[in-house]
């Protein structure tokens, strides 16, 4: 696409708003996976590279359930339960033995998990045709649109925004209004003190992994109708999710969502529009989105909402 063909940002308000709202929707998916990364990072200082692939694995299970004529909502709940169990299982069997190892070692362990889940998913579901199509939520299909006064929005994107809001509200309620959430926050804050207060730290970490895995699974099931299910489905998502988590600040759950949405919108706008004489074009869109990430990091090295770690010497 040439500069002459690319729409100018101020000429086409409707297209601009369309792209912004669509960006909010895809950004919410990045945000959900980023939220999963943040939940684990907050309590264990580890970036979980396997987050996306765990989500991919359970989404494939969801696909099998749909093939077996299971109702969408029932399938959704089953997949969430499975994701939770998987997260807890991984924490218990793989992460706990290396808990006290240097952080880089745990990162390598999660990279190992990445390849394991990816290849297992391809081994089990890759025999038939790939990519597989995944159904959209009952709220609306991927191809139908809602026409609002100011913009049009695909129905599935609308569903994404609704569900992402639901997940955030549920997590907010859990962390701020329940005793369990308080215990989890205490564990993330200071493990030794939490243990002294009688909190079962190991169980809280396990629960954190389960919650993160569930948040990632929601992201997986929401992105699958858009870009189909394949071995590489989650790879792009996880890279953007890393960027989102870091942009928002690795220790801030709201930051993850904000970061995801910011990256989603930027990516969409840069892909579509020329800003005056500048048109970067679709092939450099991801580079531009990441450039913004790096620029933000240079001004705020711990992300938008992250806390500067203060260390006593």
């Amino acid at each position: 696409m040439d500069l002459l063909l690319a729409p100018q940002i101020w000429d086409n308000t409707k297209l601009f708003l369309d792209q912004v709202v669509a960006g909010v929707a895809t950004g919410s998916i990045y945000g959900l996976v980023a939220l999963a990364i943040v939940l684990i990072y907050r309590s264990t200082d580890v970036i979980n590279f396997a987050q996306g692939e765990m989500a991919l694995f359970v989404t494939f299970v969801g696909w099998s359930l749909v093939q077996a004529d299971v109702d969408y909502i029932f399938m959704f709940i089953l997949v969430l339960a499975l994701a939770g169990a998987l997260g807890a299982f991984v924490e218990l069997t793989v992460i706990r033995p290396v808990e006290n190892a240097p952080v880089l070692n745990i990162v390598i362990v999660t990279l190992g998990l990445f390849t394991i889940f990816n290849s297992l998913a391809l081994f089990i579901w890759g025999q038939g045709e790939l990519p597989k199509s995944f159904p959209a939520t009952p709220i609306g299909g991927e191809l139908d649109t809602f026409d609002f006064e100011l913009f049009t929005l695909r129905q599935h994107r609308f569903a994404i925004i609704i569900i992402a809001c639901g997940v955030m509200m549920a997590l907010y309620f859990l962390f701020n209004h329940t005793k369990l959430g308080l215990a989890m926050r205490a564990t993330a804050h200071n493990q030794v003190a939490a243990r002294l207060m009688g909190i079962n730290v190991g169980r809280m970490l396990m629960l954190g992994w389960a919650l993160a895995s569930m948040a990632g699974a929601v992201g997986g099931m929401l992105v699958a109708p858009i870009i189909f299910l394949d071995g590489t489905t989650m790879f792009r998502v996880i890279l953007y999710a890393f960027a989102a988590a870091v942009l928002g600040g690795l220790d801030s759950p709201p930051g993850a969502i904000v970061g995801g949405i910011a990256i989603g919108i930027t990516d969409n706008i840069v892909r579509t529009f020329a800003l005056g004489p500048i048109f970067i074009g679709p092939d450099l869109a991801s580079a531009a989105a990441l450039l913004i990430l790096v620029a933000v990091l240079l001004i705020k090295p711990t992300g938008l909402f992250g806390h500067q770690a203060v260390r006593r010497v």
Binding site: V109, L111, S119, L122, L290, L297
Partner: protein, 393 residues
């Protein structure tokens, strides 16, 4: 040519022989430890240097690739192992080096910088690739001063995600999506008397560069610079208090390590692929470099070289193990699972990587373990009586 030692002709066996011989000499109960280390290195180098004459062109090419990635790992280990900065984006520096080498070696009319009115000689192009990459490393290193740990990791990851599309976009120099061909250098005149084939010459070139790189890293790590890196890694505040300029050393580490990566990229283009395109270095490979040095051993020269082997051979080894347990077909499809399991197991069993494990072997005292095993029944019975007394006062 008759085999000197029966059964040694296969690639894996020769590598195992080299490792076993090296370890045996390293831990032999005779002579000075320092001398034994040098002898072990010499023996391993001799065996590996003999390999290209035995294992065929394909395996020799693989060894050359191992050399290129070992060079990247050496540089990355300087950055991560010594100075404590994590980079997931070293593939970007390799890519920069590869493109520089390819442009200077073939497409030089595009930039109009000739040497003797023609293409650059390969060795000069290689050096230039290192310098360009090192300069970009400097430019990246300065802003990276503000970032630490995972933030730096993701920012560098952004580098390798963005780099291919940038190279593809500016296609007047880089050939865009199609990439560039680079001429592969022929055997130089002063080596004619050896009668080397091309693949063998490429292998010895790679081996020479790895030895040079390892020696360079050894010299750096044993100098004032190396101690400064370690001081910065352990505590920036303390290093600053002792008068170490934290910023200068961190940027220097970044630039130096990018230099290594650039030379490795040029080596890859000239000696392995003869081609560079936007997809030459995938994101996964770039992440694999970090995996390699952690598995090999952080802050260890031997660890970095093991890392080169890890990048290239671990997939093969995983496939072999997979086929052993699951049969030929499933093993070939499930090799990443085995690969992941190996990564996890190594990290659980060898927290300081393979090099750390080998070093620890040197500190084990078999006699002490035997003695403590022999004393175990006694210890258990005393403990039992103790517990029994406490239970029934």
């Amino acid at each position: 040519m008759p085999n000197i030692i029966p059964g040694i002709e296969s690639f894996t066996e020769m590598l195992v022989w080299a490792a076993v011989a090296g370890l045996a000499i390293r831990f032999a109960p005779i002579g000075q430890p320092k001398i034994r280390i040098w002898v072990a290195i010499a023996v391993v180098l001799l065996i590996v240097g003999y390999m290209p004459f035995e294992v065929g062109t394909y395996r020799t090419g693989q060894l050359t690739t191992i050399g290129a990635w070992a060079l990247v790992a050496l540089g990355l280990n300087l950055l991560t192992g010594w100075s404590g900065q994590i980079s997931l984006g070293h593939g970007a520096f390799v890519l920069i080096g590869a493109y520089t080498a390819a442009i200077l070696g073939d497409n030089v009319e595009q930039i109009g910088m000739y040497v003797d009115g023609g293409q650059w000689p390969w060795w000069l192009a290689m050096l230039a690739a290192g310098c360009v990459s090192g300069f970009v490393g400097l430019l990246v290193g300065i802003p990276s001063l503000r970032l630490t740990g995972p933030y730096l990791a993701v920012a560098t990851l952004a580098l390798i995600i963005a780099a291919p599309s940038v190279f593809e976009h500016y296609d007047e120099y880089t050939g865009g999506r199609n990439g560039l061909r680079a001429p592969q250098p022929g055997v130089p005149g002063f080596l004619d008397f050896l009668g080397l084939e091309r693949s063998e010459w490429f292998f010895f070139l790679a081996m020479f560069l790895v030895i040079l790189g390892a020696a360079g890293l050894w010299a750096i790590s044993n100098s004032k610079w190396g101690r400064a890196f370690v001081a910065v890694r352990e505590s920036e505040v303390a290093a600053q208090a002792m008068g170490v300029s934290v910023a200068r050393y961190k940027v220097f580490a970044f630039s130096m390590s990018a230099f290594y990566a650039g030379v490795a990229g040029a080596l890859y283009v000239f000696a392995v692929s003869g081609y560079v395109g936007p997809q030459t270095i995938a994101v996964a490979l770039s992440i694999n470099f970090l995996t390699a040095i952690v598995i090999g051993g952080l802050g260890s020269i031997m660890g970095a070289i093991i890392g080169g082997f890890v990048v290239v051979l671990l997939p093969d080894v995983s496939t072999d193990i997979g086929s052993l347990f699951l049969g030929e077909q499933d093993g070939a499809r499930l090799w990443p699972t085995v690969y992941g399991l190996i990564l996890i197991l190594v990290m659980i069993l060898m927290p300081y990587g393979m090099a750390g494990f080998i070093n620890r072997l040197g500190h084990t005292r078999p006699g002490r373990h035997l003695r403590s095993l022999r004393e175990l029944p006694d210890r258990i019975s005393t403990r039992m009586t103790e517990l029994r007394e406490r239970a029934a006062p």
